[in-house]
């Protein structure tokens, strides 16, 4: 452990936690504007969290401990993940932090417990969501592995901190193949956060839900924690994408000025990405459930292509 990492361990998760909900709200705002509506304010997501924290938690009588501890577990897993993706500055590597494989497993852990949680309440919709989520996970998880493998091939490291230390500060992507990987990462971001055309986060139609169906039975504080974990996951995946394709502003030095520049530039870049996501979501109808693997295959294709180029070029 070094002081740079200790500072990072304090600042990065706190920054991520605070900023995460902002982009949930921003995407919603962009979609509303595209439809000609005003949409809720940018702080609505925070107000919602505060409201949920004060609400009563209701459990289904058939539910077990899984319903109760999953929200804490998911948020904890994502907080650990936030130590892996540098947003405020890139620290010097410390121990296993930053390891891509651990990062992917932490995300898998979150998905696994969310699916269990969907089954646990014993409602028809939860089970349906879990079964869909798990079937799709069988396709998206290998795709994620390949995409991160491609990233590791290009940046010659299995550690996210080392990777982004390499890219940090440059105006353009350090390697042209990173553009291809970024397409994969964007698709993964859409899939993992349950956005259109994969899943509709704004729908009330239980029969069409994937992610939302699994947390349908959650309420009050538990729901707030799950929503926060979800927002955090979105922010971290956005961070990976931004650090890959547009790392300008990100610093490797841990002094106050550089940290401020890093954080501020990230906020702006993430804002731009959120607008892109919002417009992307607005431009498509939801895909048929059984056509989704074709969408994932695009991510797989671009990542596999990157690996081929890196190996043979």
């Amino acid at each position: 452990m070094n002081t740079s990492f200790l500072l990072f361990a304090l600042l990065n998760p706190a920054f991520a936690l605070l900023a995460a909900s902002l982009y949930m709200a921003l995407i919603r705002k962009v979609k509303a504007q595209a439809q000609g509506r005003k949409g809720p304010g940018l702080f609505q997501a925070y107000y919602d969290l505060r409201k949920l924290m004060h609400k009563e938690v209701i459990y289904s009588p058939v539910s077990s401990g899984i319903m109760r501890f999953t929200p804490y577990l998911n948020l904890a897993a994502l907080l650990v993940c936030s130590l892996f993706v540098p947003l405020v500055f890139v620290p010097e590597p410390a121990g296993g932090f930053g390891n891509v494989i651990v990062f992917l497993y932490l995300l898998a852990l979150e998905r696994f417990f969310t699916a269990l949680c969907g089954l646990d309440a014993g409602s028809a919709f939860g089970g349906m969501g879990s079964s869909r989520s798990m079937s799709l996970a069988a396709v998206i998880e290998p795709t994620m592995v390949v995409a991160f493998a491609a990233l590791a091939f290009v940046l010659k490291s299995l550690n996210l901190h080392e990777m982004f230390a390499l890219t940090a500060g440059s105006l353009l992507p350090v390697s042209p193949t990173l553009v291809l990987v970024s397409i994969s990462l964007f698709i993964i971001l859409i899939v993992e956060t349950g956005r259109l055309p994969v899943d509709n986060p704004a729908t009330h139609l239980e029969l069409t839900m994937i992610n939302e169906a699994m947390v349908l039975e959650q309420s009050g504080k538990n729901l707030a924690l799950l929503e926060l974990a979800h927002a955090l996951k979105q922010l971290l995946l956005m961070g990976v994408l931004i650090n890959t394709i547009l790392p300008v502003g990100l610093s490797t030095e841990a002094n106050a000025g550089k940290i401020a520049v890093s954080a501020l530039s990230f906020l702006l870049k993430a804002g731009a990405l959120a607008v892109v996501i919002g417009l992307f979501e607005s431009s498509l109808a939801k895909m048929r459930l059984f056509r989704l693997p074709a969408f994932y295959m695009m991510a797989f294709f671009f990542s596999a292509l990157t690996i081929l180029i890196e190996v043979f070029a």
Binding site: Q35, G36, A124, T203, L205, L207, T208, L284, A285
Partner: protein
Amino acid sequence: MDMKKNNDIMDLLSEISEMTGEEPEILNARADEAYVRLSEAGFERAALALAKQQFSLIGLFCAEAFEKEDGFTLFYAFKQAGRAPVLVLVREAGREEKVSSVAESFPSASWFEREVRDGFGLEFTGAFDTRRLFLHECYPKGFHPLRKAFKNGPLPLRETEAGTTKVGSNEARTTKVGSNEAGAAEAGAAEAGAAEAGTTKVGSNEVGTNEVGKPGEEYRFRQLKGEGVYQVPVGPVHAGIIEPGHFRFSVIGEPIFSLEIRLFYKHRGIEKLAEGKSPSECVALAEAISGDESAANAVGFCTAVERACGIPVPERAECLRAVLLELERVYSLLGDLAGMAVDVGFSLVASPFLILREEMFRQNEKLTGSRFLRGMMMPGGLKKDIPYSALKELAPFFAKFSRTFESAFERAMSSSSLIDRFATTGVVKKGLVVPLNLTGPLAKASGCPADTRLNRPYGAYGYFAPGPSVRKGGDVLSRYEVKADEIRESLKLIDRLLEEMPEGPVFAGNTLAEGEEAGPGSLSTSGTSGDSGTSSTSGISGYALTLVEAPRGQNLHWVYLKNGLVDRYKVRTASFCNWQAIEHAVLGNIIPDFPVINKSLNMSYAGTDL
């Protein structure tokens, strides 16, 4: 025109006598509807022959103490696609309470018969489905609200649930409420004195208390078993602001293997409420049947009364009615176009339709004072004329409307992701249209040019006919296109109507008394009607059936007036029949596609559950 109509009905009557080999007794005949009574054997021969000739059973309803009869009279309304006349076979059930079912020949009869069974307590022998329909388990056994013996009022349901004792015999029966047997026995004993006749079935109000503690028949869903088959129960309470309905899916993974729907969670007793009211009072009831079919149902009711009483309707009123009906069609269908896009997550496509819909509501309010076009219709014409200034605004409004609409529709149709979701989804086969009596955009999208405005014109539609719109696919995409076509046709129709709008009064009885405020309002049957209006319904007895094309399809209204008061009012909305199509449309589709299929069919829950 009239000659031809008369020939139509004569042809139909001679066909009937050929089919049955007997001379039918004609109870009543107009140019396009005939009431015919046959012998029991003749009726059964006729039913078989009509089914063979692709007649649809468009309505089946019952009336108690009809004309000189004492018991129950059943009316079977048949119509062949493309032909105007409606043939009503009148069948006396007397007080026997048992008649043979025609559901084997006419699948649409199944719900009709179950409805009659609940309302009147008639048993249909040989029916393949004898479960209750609109009376759920919470209603006591032997309760039949449409019988004249039942005086509308609260049912002592709470007491009924608590009791466990059969009146008279005092035998304790086991019920679901087993815990408070002692208290229940007391309650039963107390009631034994009050209600003596334990077996009577006719006096329904008493039946409620006599059959103490007997829960209504249990409702059994179809059971489908097999490896990997499981059931997904959905509703009756849904997320979002929609009405209640229960959907029981049997699925293998995602594909739907069977769907059974159960509706009627909010029965309002509209038909019972209409009994004994004057026709002008009933217009508000007709408007309340289904929110976005208010104008259509009000016109249907008023036209039925006008036909029964021979009230003339001024030309201007006919034309204004047609304008309002078309406005209603446009705003209703706009909601469908938006809803279907929302259900596949494409809000960007939906939003211009929603904006246009809201603009239409505002126009409606300017025209009539009501966003849902309520409070305008009355038997004999309109309650008030539409101000010239508001009418004049319509043409430029629709010119702008049309441009926005076309660009919005163009945007929808140029999105491959939307087309991908709509095409081949939720196919309703053409073969279902006649047996299930499907109408409206649903039937048109399945290749049947069914439109009451064309096939059996009423009001101004005799002169202003819409163009036909037919698609062959039967899928969600076809319905989307048909609904857009319907909107275009309605806009054209409104344009023509506005151009050729005749001047004159809007109420028949008001020709000479323009200055009088009370004019049209005096249709009531009571002695207070002091005017010498030519179109009063007071004291008249008669009955008539009308069909109107509501946004969702053909609605049937049948009114039976006795001494100027409504004795029986039967409504069969398009939704009542169209709902049954959904069980077929979803087969083989996957569960996540159900919402868009449902929205593309867009049936009214309220219109089904009167």
